[in-house]
């Protein structure tokens, strides 16, 4: 019995991950048994991610579910002694990110479960989606660089396959090839960085690195530099972003939703994990680690580097987004520029900044996932991919039009949407931090203002422009309010996002409270 108890105590905290694994295996098994129904596979994915999300929220102590918590409260945000060097540890920020990952996977599963299944391979889609989510969950608990890189690889390999899962579409296959080549290159860079840090500190554990004696400065710098470059691939920082536009554009729409809304965020969390240590060390000096660790001069250097990357990313992303004529490429560039905003939080690295960035990431998870799902829905209706093809869509399809407008307004950061709250918290934290961080806030505000142009343009096209007379007329049995031809799952997922955007825009406290407390713990005890 006691063995079982110990086993349960070890396994229990990983129940969400195990559920994802079981779900993926079940989906593959059903495929082998020739039970091939999109709805069934989708339902499994929805159930698994929904239950997982519930459990993670329970672990975070979110009110109605707190009783279900699996991780003993003492294990979350516990002070880790450097010598114990655990492979994984539970931080509340990590759990918050896990919740984001599961939310994204849940929305994508919902949005794909009733999609017309002309192509076979729904098992491949949902199975790989669950496996990728599993990898993302592991990123959320990693506290060792090797564990982290391996977890990221689990995600990467699953997503390379996801992009090409239809196999027939040449564009998708081409996108997958590009994705794979650039991804492999980035992994090599990350691993090389890990190797150099191992050379400098004799360990790959993040706690141990923080608590170690001073390493060789050049090795340390090169190691962190390589890690920035390697991880920047996932976050799509300029100039490591080029793959993203082609891949988001070429991948099936639901996969784009998952890539832009979900997997991108593991890179951001990895940035938090890897770079918070040196920055905190520089801030608190000997009181943080009398032995010296990576060295107090590393943190400010990394901050400058990240600040430059943040400004370049948001500016270039926005300027290129302004130029786009196709909706998906516009969203891809918009997603790139949003990564620049999020990087501000990691650069400033105070508790409010981490909270602001995390809230911005939350906003981006739901908004981007939702926006790509709308693109998927509109494409399924036979409307073209160019922004001009969407003329008059708001009147023809009020539901999609209004929901998409909410999302665009959220992305633009208009008040009463969650995007406004997150940008407000984030930029004001940068202003509070003073120094050159104020310029980050200014760059962010200017960029947000510029971005309103291209978001608002789509709303104008949908509602105020007359429909293209040369376009093929809508089918004689004119569509219903909006839901016809969407599929229940997709309609629900889009509606859910639209409601959340406004709900958390009006009352952000439920998310903000959790995020703020997690950020507070993270800058005190995080790896």
């Amino acid at each position: 019995m006691s063995d079982w108890g110990a086993f349960g105590a070890f396994v229990g905290p990983f129940l969400p991950e195990l559920l994802l694994l079981a779900g993926a295996l079940l989906v593959f098994l059903l495929d082998v048994l020739e039970v091939r129904r999109v709805e069934l596979n989708g339902a499994i994915a929805v159930a698994v991610t929904a239950v997982g999300l519930l459990l993670v929220l329970a672990d975070l102590g979110v009110a109605p579910f707190a009783g279900l918590a699996l991780i003993p409260a003492g294990q979350i945000d516990s002070i880790v002694t450097p010598s114990s060097a655990p492979l994984y540890s539970f931080t509340s920020l990590g759990l918050v990110f896990q919740a984001f990952f599961l939310l994204s996977a849940l929305l994508v599963s919902l949005g794909s479960m009733s999609r017309p299944s002309k192509e076979r391979g729904s098992a491949v889609f949902f199975g790989l989606l669950l496996l990728a989510t599993l990898g993302m969950m592991l990123v959320g608990v990693a506290s060792d660089l090797l564990f982290l890189v391996l977890a990221i690889e689990v995600v990467s390999i699953s997503t390379y396959l996801l992009v090409a899962y239809t196999r027939r579409d040449a564009r998708s296959v081409e996108a997958a090839m590009k994705f794979y080549i650039i991804g492999a290159l980035s992994t090599v860079l990350s691993l090389f960085g890990v190797a150099l840090l191992f050379g400098a500190f004799g360990t790959t554990n993040l706690y141990a690195i923080e608590g170690s004696a001073v390493g060789t400065p050049t090795l340390v710098l090169l190691g962190y530099g390589l890690l920035v470059a390697g991880l920047a691939f996932k976050v799509t920082l300029v100039p490591f972003h080029a793959w993203a536009v082609d891949v988001y554009d070429g991948a099936p729409h639901d996969v784009s939703a998952f890539l832009a809304g979900g997997t991108k965020k593991i890179g951001l969390f990895a940035f938090f994990l890897v770079f918070i240590g040196p920055i905190l060390l520089a801030r608190w000096g000997a009181s943080f680690n009398p032995l010296g660790g990576p060295g107090v001069e590393i943190g400010p250097l990394l901050q400058v580097l990240l600040a430059v990357l943040a400004v370049v990313t948001m500016t270039v992303g926005n300027l290129l987004a302004l130029q786009q004529k196709e909706i998906k490429r516009m969203l891809a560039y918009s997603s790139i520029s949003q990564a620049g905003y999020m990087l501000i939080g990691i650069t400033v690295a105070t508790a409010p900044a981490v909270a602001g960035a995390t809230l911005q990431i939350f906003a981006h998870v739901i908004l981007t996932t939702g926006a790509f799902l709308v693109v998927a829905a509109v494409a399924a209706l036979g409307v073209g991919a160019r922004i001009d093809d969407w003329r008059g869509l708001g009147l023809r399809r009020p539901y999609l039009g209004v929901a998409f407008s909410f999302m665009l307004l959220g992305l633009a950061g208009i008040p009463l949407t969650v995007g406004f709250v997150s940008k407000f918290v984030l930029f004001s934290s940068a202003i509070q931090a003073e120094g050159y961080f104020v310029w980050l806030a200014i760059a962010g505000v200017l960029n947000s203002a510029a971005s309103v142009f291209y978001y608002a343009r789509v709303i104008k096209v949908m509602f105020l422009d007359a429909p293209d007379p040369s376009a093929p007329p809508s089918r004689p049995e004119a569509p219903g309010l909006a839901f016809e031809g969407l599929g229940y799952g997709r309609a629900v997922a889009i509606g859910l996002v639209a409601v959340l955007v406004i709900f958390f825009g009006i009352d952000p406290q439920p998310v903000l409270g959790v995020v703020q407390s997690a950020a507070q713990h993270f800058v005190l005890v995080g790896p």
Binding site: E174, M177, K178, I181, I182, L185, L189, L222, G225, L226, A229, A232, F233, P239, F240, A242, W243, D246, I279, A282, R283, E297, G299, P300, L301, L302, Q303, V304, L305, V308, V316, L319, L320, Q323, T347, G392, L395, R396, P398, Y399, A433, G435, Y436, L464, A466, P467, P473, S474, P476, E477, A478, P479, G480, L481, A482, E484, Y488, A491, I506, D507
Partner: protein, 668 residues
């Protein structure tokens, strides 16, 4: 019995909830509900149950008028801080009082009848589930508006009805004129809405600096709660510039929604929507929301004397102004639309002169007879497929029910006793007359309103004679007309009943309870009194209306077609009227010019500033990648080159530039 009915007040939230459920169900299942006429019967059912509930609530209010029940849910609250010492809360809730239950009857009864009528009228159209879903959403929003228990909630629903109106005017979105009318209505009402919001802000400022009670009240979103009235009374009548401006802003919001001069231009064009939508939204309910807003404001916030004069002037002028344009129009729906603007003018006039409840009395009767006129016009359009009056004629033999219904609606509109319109319109005129002693500046607007009575009788019976009298249809190519199905005839008959009797209801003591002011105070002018002057005024009013009808008969009766002599003063006047006093042309010109210059400025920025920058960077990145993109395998290595270049840049920043920068700017 009254206790049971009063216990329903707490359940008032069900009244808007049922159409909301219908909206969700129809929206979700859409055209799969073919058997239920694409969800139409669900909408009708929900509206029917809502109507029953609303009538029961109103009966409860009639029995025990002074009670009110407010259900509140705090949607958002800020803790106390220096700006808001009492915190700030946004409350969502329902307020049941005599006034809101009166409005509930109007909205749900007309809503139910129009939805029922739609089953027949819209049968041949496409996109029915969209129609019924949007109409249900409109009902939800409109009921939510009249049940709001504070001004901010009111504003939210106010915007929502505007959005629904936009969608429904543009229902036939494939017709360019419909899409453009929807846009016009949306943009023009938005002008009013922005000013309305500004007015709320100014009121907030005024009351927040008026001591703790005012601040407390404003911080909770201007709760429509009667406990506030005593301290408000102190502020009433204070003619401070700020309060005046706030009141004018509210007036602008109301003028936009209720299509009052000079924001009236959108309503005639809104007739591009289905006739049923015109009947419900653009005659009975949404356009009346502006009057309701003015009435609520006059009760809970108060207008300054300057504001009151502005409201009287706008309302009085609009009655005559809109009526003149109705005189020459040849489109059956547009004549009724101008008539709506004119009648809303009467209500605004009454509210401005200090008789809020008299204005709402006319709102009540007008909702029924105007919906009746629209539905009867819809029945004509349904039968012969044209809206051009000069193609019609002789329809009374084919459309007996419709013809009778239109005549009853016309008599009510013209103010002929005992039909509904007479009592309320007459009450407005005598009420305004009663204050001309202390306010001689109201005289010109009272005279305009009297003149409009004559025109009202004329234009509405011009329509009736052109449509129904004579012995043949003028355009022989039109199909032989026949009445619509029972679902269309029943609403006509029921509304005819209201058009006959709704005005007389006020003399039932219980019903008059619905017009009580907060605190059970009897409203001025309710029920109407009939002294010697009042009777003389009534006779004059009926005489003017009757003279209008007689004139219409002389010129258009029995299939006659009256033509103005060419080249006379009258025909040039006619031209001005047909062109709607050139307002639309002027708006379009000014609007186009303003938009054009903004667009030119934007274009300049776009071309020289934005484009220049964008193109520069774009070229930097895409010139290479464009060239590379031609060979597919080239692209990936290009991206890889970016990565490697980026890595080098990272190293340069960390090892060379970074230390310099950190020394310059200092660390975090």
């Amino acid at each position: 019995m009254s206790g049971i009915l009063a216990s329903l007040f707490g359940w008032a939230f069900l009244v808007p909830l049922l159409p909301a459920l219908a909206f969700i169900v129809i929206g979700l299942f859409g055209d799969r509900l073919r058997r239920l006429e694409h969800g139409g019967w669900i909408a009708v059912g929900a509206a029917f149950v809502s109507m029953v509930l609303a009538v029961l609530i109103a009966l409860g209010e009639m029995a025990s008028p002074d009670t009110y029940t407010s259900l509140s849910y705090t949607w958002l609250s800020l803790p106390a801080n220096p700006t808001f010492p009492y915190g700030f809360s946004l409350v969502i809730g329902t307020l049941v009082d005599p006034l809101s239950s009166l409005m509930l009857i109007v909205v749900t009864v007309v809503g139910f009848l129009v939805l029922l009528y739609s089953i027949g009228y819209m049968h041949h159209e496409h996109g029915l589930s969209r129609y019924y879903a949007e109409l249900s959403l409109f009902l939800t929003a409109m009921i939510g508006l009249v049940l709001s228990n504070n001004l901010l909630e009111f504003f939210l629903f106010w915007e929502l009805v505007g959005v629904c109106s936009y969608f429904l005017i543009g229902f036939f979105y494939e017709k360019p004129s419909a899409a453009s009318a929807a846009k016009e209505a949306f943009l023009i009402t938005r002008i009013g809405d922005i000013l309305f919001l500004l007015g709320i802000f100014i009121f907030f400022y005024v009351y927040a600096s008026d001591g703790p009670a005012g601040l407390h009240w404003a911080s909770s979103g201007f709760l429509f709660a009667y406990g506030n009235l005593p301290f408000l009374a102190g502020s009433l009548g204070a003619n401070t510039p700020l309060l005046t401006i706030a009141g004018l802003c509210i007036l602008a919001g109301a003028a936009g929604k209720s299509a009052q001069f000079p924001l009236h231009v959108w309503l005639p064009d809104a007739m591009e929507g289905p006739t049923t939508v015109s009947a419900l939204i653009h005659a009975a309910t949404m356009v009346a929301a502006g009057v309701y807003l003015l009435a609520m404001t006059s009760i809970f916030l108060g207008f300054t004397p300057t504001d009151q004069f502005a409201i009287v002037a706008i309302g009085g002028f609009t009655t005559l102004f809109a009526a003149t344009m109705a005189v020459v129009n040849t489109d059956i729906k547009r004549v009724i639309a101008y008539s709506t603007i004119s009648q809303l003018g009467y209500m605004v006039l009454a509210v401005g002169a200090g008789f809020a409840m008299v204005g709402l009395y006319h709102l009540f009767t007008h909702a029924f007879f105007k919906a009746l006129l629209f539905l009867a016009a819809g029945s004509v359009i349904h039968a012969i497929g044209t809206q051009d009056l000069f193609k019609m004629g002789g329809l009374k033999r084919h459309l007996r029910v419709t013809g009778a219904a239109f005549a009853i609606g016309g008599l009510a509109l013209a103010g002929i006793p005992p039909f509904a319109g007479f009592w309320s319109k007459d009450d407005i005129l005598s009420s305004v007359y009663s204050v001309t002693g202390s306010h001689p500046e109201y005289w010109p607007f009272l005279l305009m309103a009297m003149a409009a009575v004559f025109l009202t009788g004329y234009y509405i019976f011009r329509v009736w004679f052109l449509t129904f009298s004579g012995d043949r249809i003028r355009d022989p190519t039109l199909p032989t007309p026949h009445e619509g199905p029972w679902v269309m005839q029943v609403p006509l008959i029921v509304l005819s009943g209201f058009a006959v009797g709704a005005g007389l209801l006020i003399f039932i003591p219980g019903f008059a309870n619905l017009f009580l002011l907060p605190g059970g105070v009897t409203a001025l002018g309710i029920p109407p009194t009939y002294g010697t002057t009042d009777i003389l005024l009534s006779v004059l009013g009926v005489g003017l209306g009757g003279a209008g009808i007689l004139t219409a008969w002389l010129l258009w009766g029995n299939g006659r077609v009256f033509q103005l002599p060419e080249g006379s003063v009258w025909s040039s006047a006619r031209k001005v009227l047909v062109n709607r006093y050139y307002f639309k042309v002027a708006y379009d010109a000014v609007g186009a010019k303003a938009v054009y210059s903004v667009a030119r400025a934007a274009d300049f920025v776009d071309q020289f500033v934005m484009d220049g920058t964008v193109r520069g960077i774009e070229q930097l990145f895409s010139r290479i990648s464009e060239r590379m993109r031609r060979i597919q395998s080239g692209v990936v290595s290009d991206y890889a080159a970016y990565v490697v270049g980026g890595l080098l840049a990272v190293f340069v920043l960390l090892l060379l530039v970074g230390p310099y920068l950190v020394n310059r700017v200092g660390g975090g």
